[in-house]
């Protein structure tokens, strides 16, 4: 079957190894090469201690590394630190950034600095939070907050029906005048099929998105009506507070439908997985960063400028899916959570 004796493997083997080695070198050189021009972009977030913005920054750096982009970064000292962001815009423009991603701390006050950068030829994309006016930037890449509210509203309604619950709703909102909070509130009402002032709404409180205020607000609403069985929370920090208040009065998880928005890791693992939060609309800060860097890099290399609004995606995460409302399992939420 195999011939023996008349071949010269001693000559053949080194040649074969040389060919294999050359092939390997060729493959490696192709893999390591990057034929895109290096461009400089900037990223300015509200503050670096917030896990949401940490995710944005980490993803932006990874994407920049893959795309031959030099990424300048800056962060404010707090969620309302506009001054640092203004200075960062000017500095990055001076350092040659062709595009800047920004999560505005103050939607109006940042506009003059953004317009100055754009006059200097810098493309600017707002992430997560819109500017006022929206046209101040090239584009907005953010979660559709109305859709987020609608999704959890639909879930709460379907779950209430499945559990044969006569709804008594508590609304834990953000604060007056903040767009994202208002959109989520309005979306929830639409998803649930009710309007402001509906008799099924026990009351609403402003939490500023904080756990302590969420707990205090929930306690106040429970004092008004101990039979509350559906709780809308504008974000998961508020939901943590609501859960604490419910636990303090001895209400079990099974008797209350608690819904929220964000999709952070603490909420998914410690609240959604054990069923304390029934469902949360998970948003993807990594998509904001990834798509933002890619779009600005493309524009900097002569491609089309980013425009309009990019919906960076939402998924409802729950361990108890309901019919008619698309959702993903907790495992999906864990794999894609942030913070």
């Amino acid at each position: 079957m195999w011939k023996r004796g008349r071949r010269h493997p001693g000559q053949l083997a080194p040649r074969l190894l040389a060919v294999a080695g050359a092939g390997l070198l060729a493959v490696l050189s192709l893999a390591c090469g990057n034929d895109k021009d290096k461009v400089t972009l900037g990223l300015i977030v509200k503050r670096e201690s917030n896990p949401f913005f940490v995710k944005i920054e980490d993803t932006a750096k990874d994407t920049a590394g893959d795309d031959n982009v030099k990424l300048l970064t800056a962060a404010g000292k707090s969620d309302i630190d506009n001054r640092t962001q203004v200075a960062a815009l000017a500095k990055m423009t001076a350092e040659g950034a062709k595009g800047i991603l920004i999560t505005p701390a103050n939607s109006s006050a940042i506009v003059p600095a953004i317009e100055k950068a754009r006059r200097a030829g810098v493309n600017v994309i707002a992430l997560d939070t819109p500017t006022r006016p929206r046209s101040a930037v090239n584009a907005l890449y953010a979660t559709d907050n109305f859709e987020a509210g609608d999704l959890i509203g639909r879930y709460a309604k379907a779950k209430a029906k499945a559990d044969s619950i006569e709804p008594k709703i508590a609304m834990l909102d953000l604060a007056p005048g903040i767009t994202s909070g208002q959109l989520r509130h309005d979306g929830f009402l639409k998803g649930f099929g009710i309007k402001d002032g509906d008799r099924r709404i026990v009351g609403s409180v402003n939490t500023l998105g904080e756990t302590g205020r969420g707990e205090a607000g929930m306690k106040a609403l429970l004092a008004k009506d101990p039979g509350i069985n559906i709780v809308y929370t504008v974000n998961e920090q508020a939901a943590f507070g609501a859960a604490a208040a419910l636990k303090a009065v001895g209400r079990s998880n099974d008797g209350v439908i608690l819904v929220s928005v964000d999709g952070g890791c603490k909420a998914i693992k410690d609240y959604v997985r054990p069923g304390v939060i029934d469902a949360t609309a998970q948003q993807y800060p990594e998509n904001m960063a990834r798509e933002g860097v890619k779009a600005l890099a493309k524009a900097a290399r002569g491609g089309p400028k980013p425009t309009g609004f990019l919906n960076t995606g939402l998924e409802l995460i729950t361990r108890d899916p309901v019919k008619g409302v698309p959702s993903e399992a907790v495992a999906f939420g864990v794999r894609n959570c942030w913070g």
Partner: protein, 451 residues
């Protein structure tokens, strides 16, 4: 299959008794066979790489094809199912054509399997990948069955054990390379799941193509190495030892009857089935546990599987030492109980502690395969050869248990899925306790030869 594979312990059973008579120092290989020996060492590394790269593929395919854990576990069903199916044909090839032919047939078939990944990644469907894996594993099964006795035949009998141990030592090297390939080349470069949430159908199609091209790379590399080894071995003159032919027909029937009546053997085969099942399950779903339960990013999740294999390797040396001090089945019982405990921690502790426990299961697995093998075959005498074949078939556990764990994971989550290795290891512990509590007649522990 990683260290502790079927072929390794089969070959150990064919080596010389390790008695204490002084002997003349023997060369490692016959003159002129150093290069062929090195080539066979590469084979051991290659099949280790292919086997453990498959562990990574389970999670990779789940993400690429957005499928359930049960469906993705069919990867292991295809892989180990091929090993099971080709065990007997491999032996027939060796008997008819000799070990060199068996090695070449195995290398060739495995290379074809690797190359079948090319059309599979073009079709963008899961089933062609399963076919490619089946063919690859079929070739590796023939290779493993042929390579072990071939290594033994390459040199003097006195150095056979040493020669085989040296060759086998490269299997875990290959196993770690396989996982490393997955951890470096595939996992960190997969399209992020979150990115797919906002992709259009056309973009999703492109992403799938991109991700499948990542899978293609390592298997083409393995195929290339196998082809190269095939050419070098085919062109090389190698003496092939004559096959022993005994009155097999009558001996086989009698052996099967005797083996079936032997409870230590019968339960040993079952224990081996569950041990292989536990091992393949534990490693196949380590990455999923890291991602689904703890939220470890894909680029980092592969390192936990890598840690499992390294722990397995180190523990094997430690266990080898301890086996010289303690009765094997005592150690087996202890490790079985440890494995059950660690699996249950993985089930109930759904955080980094649980993940570390899942990684730690490898410590308990490290001594099981050869120990069960030796205990089950002890005292079988002339029936050892057929008994060994039965233990080879226990590899079926690696094909059947992962889909079961996948199903449990789909119903109850990745953490609860580790109840399956817990049950498997509990049954292995039961076998060890059975051996400790029952009397059996004579016979040394079979790591030495019955030939």
């Amino acid at each position: 299959m990683a260290e502790g594979s079927v072929g390794q312990t089969q070959a150990q059973s064919q080596a010389q008794p390790l008695d204490e008579r002084p002997r003349k120092k023997a060369g490692l290989v016959h003159p002129g066979l150093t290069v062929p020996f090195i080539l066979l060492i590469l084979c051991f590394a290659a099949w280790g790489a292919a086997a453990n790269l498959t562990d990574v593929l389970v999670g990779v395919f789940r993400q690429i094809f957005t499928m359930s854990n049960f469906q993705s576990a069919l990867v292991q069903f295809a892989y180990y199912g091929a090993y099971f199916s080709l065990a007997i044909p491999a032996a027939l090839i060796n008997r008819r054509f000799g070990y060199k032919a068996g090695v070449l047939a195995g290398l060739g078939l495995a290379a074809v399997g690797g190359l079948l990944f090319i059309p599979a990644s073009g079709l963008l469907k899961f089933a062609p990948f399963l076919i490619a894996l089946f063919v690859l594993a079929a070739g590796l099964s023939i290779l493993e069955t042929s390579a072990n006795p071939f290594v033994i035949a390459m040199g003097p009998e006195e150095s056979a054990t040493q020669r085989l141990n040296l060759a086998q030592a490269f299997n875990p090297v290959g196993a770690n390379i396989g996982v490393l390939l997955g951890a470096i080349v595939i996992l960190p470069n997969l399209t992020p799941e979150a990115a797919k949430v906002i992709m259009s159908p056309a973009q999703l199609h492109d992403a799938q193509e991109h991700d499948l091209s990542l899978v293609l790379g390592p298997y083409l590399g393995i195929a290339a190495v196998l082809v190269l080894i095939w050419v070098l071995i085919a062109l090389r003159k190698m003496p092939t030892p004559a096959e022993e032919r005994q009155g097999e027909g009558e001996a086989r029937t009698g052996a099967l009857r005797r083996l079936w009546r032997n409870r230590h053997y019968r339960y040993g085969v079952a224990a081996q089935f569950f041990n292989v099942g536990a091992q393949v399950c534990a490693w196949s779903f380590t990455i999923q546990y890291a991602r689904d339960v703890v939220g470890v990013p894909p680029g980092s999740a592969g390192w936990y599987l890598q840690a499992s294999l390294l722990l397995f390797l180190v523990s094997r040396f430690v266990m080898t030492y301890l086996l010289g001090i303690f009765r094997p089945t005592k150690l087996l019982a202890l490790m079985g109980a440890l494995g059950v405990g660690l699996s249950l921690i993985g089930v109930f502790s759904q955080n980094k502690v649980g993940l570390l426990a899942v990684v730690g299961i490898s410590v308990s697995l490290s001594l099981m395969f050869p120990t069960i093998y030796g205990v089950a075959l002890r005292g079988l005498g002339e029936d050892t050869k057929f008994g060994a074949a039965g233990l080879v078939m226990a590899i079926l556990g690696g094909a059947l248990m992962p889909p079961i764990q996948g199903k449990v994971m789909d119903q109850s989550g990745a953490a609860f899925g580790y109840i399956i290795p817990a049950i498997c290891l509990a049954l292995v512990t039961c076998y060890a306790l059975f051996d400790l509590r029952t009397h059996r007649n004579g016979g040394r522990l079979v790591a030495e030869g019955a030939h």
